[in-house]
Amino acid sequence: MKKIIHHIRLYIALFIAKGAIFFLRLSGSGGTSLPGKLALAIYPDILTVLARKYRIIMVTGTNGKTTTSRMIEQILKENRIDYIANKSGANLLSGLTTTLISDVKMNLKSRSHTALLEVDEAAFRLSSKYMHPAVLVVTNFFRDQLDRFGELYATLNAVRDGISRLPDTTLILNADDSLCASLGKEVPNSVIYYGMNKLELPADDTWVESQDASYCLYCKAKYEYLFRSYSHLGHFICPQCGYSRPEALIQVDKILSLSGEFSRAIFYTPSGSFTAQINLPGLYNVYNALAAVSFSEALGFSHEKTIEALSCFESGFGRMESISLGEKSIQVILIKNPTGFNQVLSFLKTVENPAAISFIINDKLADGTDISWLWDVGFEALAEIQDKISRFFVSGIRAEDMAVRLKYAGIFTDHITVEKDYGNMLDDALEHVNSGETLYILPTYTAMLDIRKILKKRFHLKNFWQ
């Protein structure tokens, strides 16, 4: 009898969640967490039941989760693998549940056999109670929304704790990140490390970045670096206890070009080397590509398909999206922490045509309520190119703070417009962009959701849950 009631609850949970998904899509809101929340409340084990039906590939870490997931998704597509993925950054437990529920039928049969899930680094530990991924990709650990997660080391240890429940999962780890690489030490799992070989990098003088992890995780001595790519990533070695960057199985041996639109690099893998073009700018995306190539290698996919995937994939949810308006264009780039933001500023320095820039800074829970990290971003780099920028706009709940930040970075105050209304800001900003030029909109997470709604209405963007 108890078993039957159990079963009935499972079906009720599924039915109500599916109904919620249907109505939310109908209303055009694209809600991705409520259906899962409802299902989990009615039948807390639903995730365990559903997860068993899939080969699960998980991606976590502080930066680059979404982009890496999109690259892996493209690799799955090229290899004609049926999959379901949580596309719209619905990466908490409720979002993962919604994703799987939308794929299973009412008879509990799944449509796909592979689930590609981006998981919030703070939600990962909990998720490991319910789901046992075949492959786990961890991108990196940078300082991120500290007010929500406590501190960086606590985040790292929570991920470590989650991994301890998953001894059969293949781990794909960033060798160049001393924090991420430590996850592969003394675990029974099979581990694939990826990283950059010592190589030449274009000089980047933008900022002396604050270091997230300059001291040895184990003995607290200061790391020495034989090579450094950016922030704390590189070939670290602790002079005291000897903890050092592990040997990487998958490496980038050479970067052939880094432009404002794409990068080209030579990848080394045990099955041979190949050159690939990555259809996104920035050194940080070379790391994301490395993670994706490692995944491809782990599953034994061919180089041709991987090369094809990296060169043709579309950028993910708001990470870097272009909208063409005749001669002008708008580019939206999500920002969320100092390292990511600094990379975006380095990218803006490579842009040749003049442009206008709009910063939209919110301080809701999903953005991080503490905005002091804006002071860890090297906006001073923008002051050097301010003659190329027709105007700086600041908007969002914390517009005034952002204006102060720009002033102290050396931007002329009469080049800064504070405009809290997104519609007005967009009108005004587009007037400051001539044909052939671009308006760069740099929002935090919740600001991106809002600005996207407005852009969607005005310029008919596709619905983001698709």
Partner: protein, 248 residues
């Protein structure tokens, strides 16, 4: 030409909450007035010269990293820092830096970590983190007549003040020192301690100017006052937060 030297203590370890902004605010606000500023980093294994600096800044860090530097602080810099505090050097100590200036920090496991002891306050680890926007009022802040300071706090340690140390201000919104007695920060001679980052000084130019004024008066007895600046962006940022969190 006036010359001011700023010492940033342990910038590679205590750099968690945009502390760079406080240095930047001091530097820019002096440069805009034609004052010659130099900023010096002093970290692990490097001597601190109490006669060399007019303003000392010490920020917050992750607990993990505070461990590393306590050793260095007590064995290499204790006497020199005492000398600077008693000699009325201007100090701004934030969050972890505030705690380190006191007598001890008692951790969650009951361990008492000895700190500098330059000020008579102590910190006891609490079981919940005190996180959020912080507004507090300070008496006698000339350049910011309403007296309100805005920032952001994030600490699990609860700090209590002993004799000889006065609170920096009264909490209007947020937790402050311990979430219990309604006080925020500490003052002793020219030492300013607070839990507020955010960054603190760019948004509270009156406080920045008070620190600069104290440093100039100490070094140049004939110095009278700073020339005013256009602070409209800073004031808007400050007022918008006061309105949001106090409905004033």
């Amino acid at each position: 030409m006036y010359q001011i030297s700023i010492c940033h203590l342990y910038p590679d370890l205590l750099n968690l909450y945009g502390d760079h902004g406080n240095i930047q605010a001091l530097r820019k606000r002096m440069e805009w007035r034609g004052i010659d500023v130099s900023v010096h980093s002093v970290s692990l294994g490097e001597p601190f010269d109490p006669e060399a600096h007019d303003i000392v800044f010490i920020g917050g860090g992750q607990d993990y990293e505070q461990d590393i530097l306590l050793n260095d602080l007590l064995n290499q810099k204790k006497e020199a820092l005492f000398h600077a505090v008693e000699g009325e050097t201007v100090f701004l100590c934030i969050c972890g830096g505030y705690q380190l200036m006191g007598r001890y920090i008692k951790t969650g496991s009951g361990r008492e970590m000895e700190c500098l002891g330059a000020l008579n306050h102590w910190t006891i680890s609490g079981d919940k983190r005190l996180i959020g926007n912080l507004v507090f009022s300070v008496e006698g802040l000339k350049q910011q007549p309403d007296g309100y300071i805005v920032g952001f706090e994030n600490h699990s340690g609860k700090t209590y003040l002993g004799e000889g140390v006065t609170p920096l201000g009264k909490v209007v919104h947020g937790f402050g020192n311990n979430g219990e007695d309604g006080y925020e920060g500490a003052r002793y001679k020219n030492v300013y301690c607070t839990y507020s980052h955010g960054s603190l000084l760019p948004k509270n130019p009156g406080l920045a100017d008070e620190l600069i004024t104290l440093a100039l008066k100490r070094k140049y007895p004939d110095f009278v006052s700073l020339q005013p600046l256009n602070d409209s962006l800073e004031t808007n940022a400050r007022i918008s937060l006061i309105k949001r969190f106090t409905r004033k």
